[in-house]
């Protein structure tokens, strides 16, 4: 098998928790704690989980906006986990990120044209005329009129601003986009427009996505494979159809059951999960999910289950971090 575009091996990102008057380290927030995953070329890996599960920290660590505590980030086989800023610069052409809130990630003092041209300038690509042409191409690619180049981000709606940040992210022709909740701040009628844009760009440019979101229905729609994260760890990983049709982990089962379905005639037996997500600063012993799991047994409280393969769909394993089979 060829090398995956991106491979994470036992990746961990911890933050010191400081407190008291002297701000001494009092503990460790294990936001990402031993994650191994792969993203294949031109494919989408969906990463779902609730707030505080570490999915955004994972995304930021992959593009090296954060430094990992341990583990490897293999991009086209090269470990970039310890790269310096200078070593990272050429990689920025290959690896880009789209954030949730384009109002915050776009500098409102620059015109849209300047914002999209900026990555080209930083990497000294093309003459001014070529760059100008490239900006027009990119605007067209994301479905914005060429006249948008001379306007400012605040003149645009949320959906259009997200188009601008996507144009900026794909300007250098990256191979991988890390998308962190890219549609969750948008109105329902705008979400589908942006999801379609992601799908179009993937088929036109052969982009791969690490698509991070909390909405399982959205993630399922765009993903080839899905990983479910809880308290810094992967609970389940499978091809998208396999995960949705036959979820094996009690947490994935509860997540799917909790999605409200827009069909009142569909009466389902709901397993409403009790309790809240525990703090990653002081995670439960054993299985991180045991405090909320409806099937918990003594073993779960003391022994942490590792990811194990339970079945296979073609080349894609279905992995579950649970002691039992459900």
């Amino acid at each position: 098998m060829s090398t995956p575009l991106l491979e994470l091996r036992d990746l961990a990102t911890h933050f010191p928790v400081r407190g008291g008057v002297l701000l001494r380290a009092r503990g460790t927030n294990r936001a990402v704690d031993g994650v191994s995953l792969a993203v294949e070329r031109g494919e989408t890996l969906g990463l779902v989980g609730e707030s505080g599960c570490g999915k955004s920290t994972l995304g930021k660590t992959v593009v090296r906006l954060l430094d990992p505590t341990r583990g490897a980030i293999l991009f086209e086989g090269e470990d970039i986990a310890g790269h310096s800023r200078r070593q990272l610069k050429p990689l920025r052409r290959e690896l880009q990120m789209v954030f949730q809130d384009p109002a915050e990630s776009l500098n409102s003092r620059h015109t849209v044209g300047n914002l999209i041209e900026e990555p080209l300038l930083i990497h000294r690509i093309g003459t001014p005329a070529e760059r100008r042409r490239r900006v027009d191409e990119l605007l067209d690619l994301v479905g914005l009129p060429a006249t948008a180049a001379d306007r400012f981000p605040f003149e645009f709606s949320g959906g259009q601003r997200q188009r601008i940040s996507i144009a900026r992210a794909v300007a250098l022709g990256p191979k991988l986009l890390v998308c962190d909740e890219p549609v969750s701040a948008l109105d329902v009628s705008i979400q589908s427009q942006i999801l379609n844009l992601f799908l179009d760009l993937q088929s036109e440019l052969g982009l791969a996505y690490l698509f991070i979101a909390h909405d399982l229905a959205v993630v399922r729609h765009v993903s080839d494979r899905i990983a479910v994260m809880y308290l810094g760890r992967i609970m389940e990983y499978a091809d998208a159809d396999g995960l949705m049709s036959r979820p094996r982990h009690p947490y994935t089962q509860a997540l799917i059951a909790a999605i409200p379905v827009p069909d009142p005639s569909r009466k389902r037996a709901r397993t409403v999960l009790g309790g809240d997500v525990p703090s990653p600063i002081d995670p439960p012993s054993g299985c991180p999910f045991h405090t909320r799991c409806p099937h918990v047994e003594d073993r779960c409280r003391s022994e942490r289950p590792e990811l194990r393969e339970v079945s296979r769909s073609g080349s894609i394993p279905h992995q579950v971090a649970c002691h039992f089979d459900f």
Binding site: E50, S157, S189, S192, N196, P262, P264
Partner: protein, 337 residues
């Protein structure tokens, strides 16, 4: 029912117009909206940002930002009492007592420097005339009722010590303290995780069944509407586009906007990685609304009539109303799944 009260309904809103004074002139955030809610029922209000769903709730509570927001026409009756133009004393008697309200972000609605117990006790002391001790005893009961473990301990804690889901439970306890007849919940679970959202919505449903109160549930999530509401009002740009029972609305949506919204949501059955049907264009701002039907610039069926003449709500079946000139022709078309 009190003497002189004629309304049969718990909540009756008729012809509500709410305007805001802005730099670019006066805008109508809510434009001639009618709503009816009966005891023991849940009415869902669904729409996107700027559709007027929250302004409708704030108008009912008479909590519009002052002095910009004004109710400029219409009537709002709660248990037969007219709230439009009511004296402040009347509003004080009703708000927090007969009407409870919960908001999207409990952290901004709770007072961060007061203990939980005091915040729940406040309305009991104010409206029910309880002394402090009796109010705190009742507060413990309420916390128990909304499913907060160790309520005696929580009583002396501050909001920041609770999780988001727990804070929303506290908000519900405060809203329910005086046994309101009407609970207005404005995006109560939008800030919460999906598993916690399920807990909170189940809790509201249980409490409604126990107390017989009416619930007005405002959300942008059609899934939440389908699972928790009896009746639905779909709002677009300050107007009611369609209203029906939840069953009828999801089985046979009539308005092109409702149909477009339902089609654009990825379902678990939608073929993966297929292009989703979309509603073209963007949600209009209130300062820049099209003439005629406000949906005309995004509607695939719009013609000259739609661009000139505003459609009135017309009956499209028992209890089903739609504001579209062409709903009959559109209804015969295939609904995109």
């Amino acid at each position: 029912m009190k003497p002189g009260v004629t309304s049969r309904h718990l909540l009756e809103v008729r012809g509500l117009v709410t305007t805001f004074a802005t730099e670019s002139g006066e805008v109508r955030a809510v434009d001639r909206v009618d709503l009816t809610l009966d005891r023991g029922r849940t009415l869902g209000i669904v729409g996107e940002s700027g559709c007027g769903k929250s302004v409708t709730a704030l108008s009912i509570m008479r909590l519009l930002p002052q002095p910009m927001g004004q109710i400029s026409a219409g009537s709002i009756h709660v248990e037969g009492t007219e709230l439009v133009g009511a004296e402040p004393e009347t509003l004080h008697r009703i708000r927090g007592n007969r009407i409870g309200m919960i908001f999207q972000e409990p952290m901004t609605a709770l007072n961060p420097v007061h203990r939980i117990g005091r915040q729940i006790a406040e309305s009991l002391i104010l409206h029910k005339g309880l002394d402090r001790r009796a109010a705190l005893v009742k507060a413990v009961e309420l916390l128990e009722r909304v499913g907060i473990p160790a309520p005696e301990v929580r009583l002396s804690e501050y909001p920041h010590q609770l999780s988001g889901g727990m804070r929303q439970r506290v908000m519900i306890a405060i809203a329910l303290a005086c046994d309101p007849a009407l609970l207005i919940a404005d995006e109560p679970t939008t800030a919460l995780d999906v598993t916690v959202q399920a807990q909170i919505l189940e809790l509201i449903a249980t409490l409604r069944a126990e107390s017989g109160m009416g619930v007005m549930l405002i959300t942008h999530d059609l899934g939440v509407i389908a699972e928790h509401c009896d009746d639905v009002v779909v709002m677009y740009a300050g107007r009611v586009a369609e209203q029906a029972s939840a069953q009828a609305l999801f089985a046979a949506p009539k308005h092109p906007y409702t149909r477009g919204l339902l089609a654009s949501i990825p379902h678990l059955e939608t073929p993966r990685k297929s292009r989703l049907p979309t509603i073209k264009g963007m949600v209009p701002t209130l300062a820049d609304l099209p003439d005629g039907c406000r949906f005309n610039n995004r509607c695939p069926h719009a013609d000259d009539r739609c661009r000139q003449q505003q459609p009135a709500l017309t009956s499209a079946g028992p209890g089903h109303q739609v504001a579209c000139h062409h709903w009959q022709r559109i209804a015969s078309l295939e609904v995109t799944p």
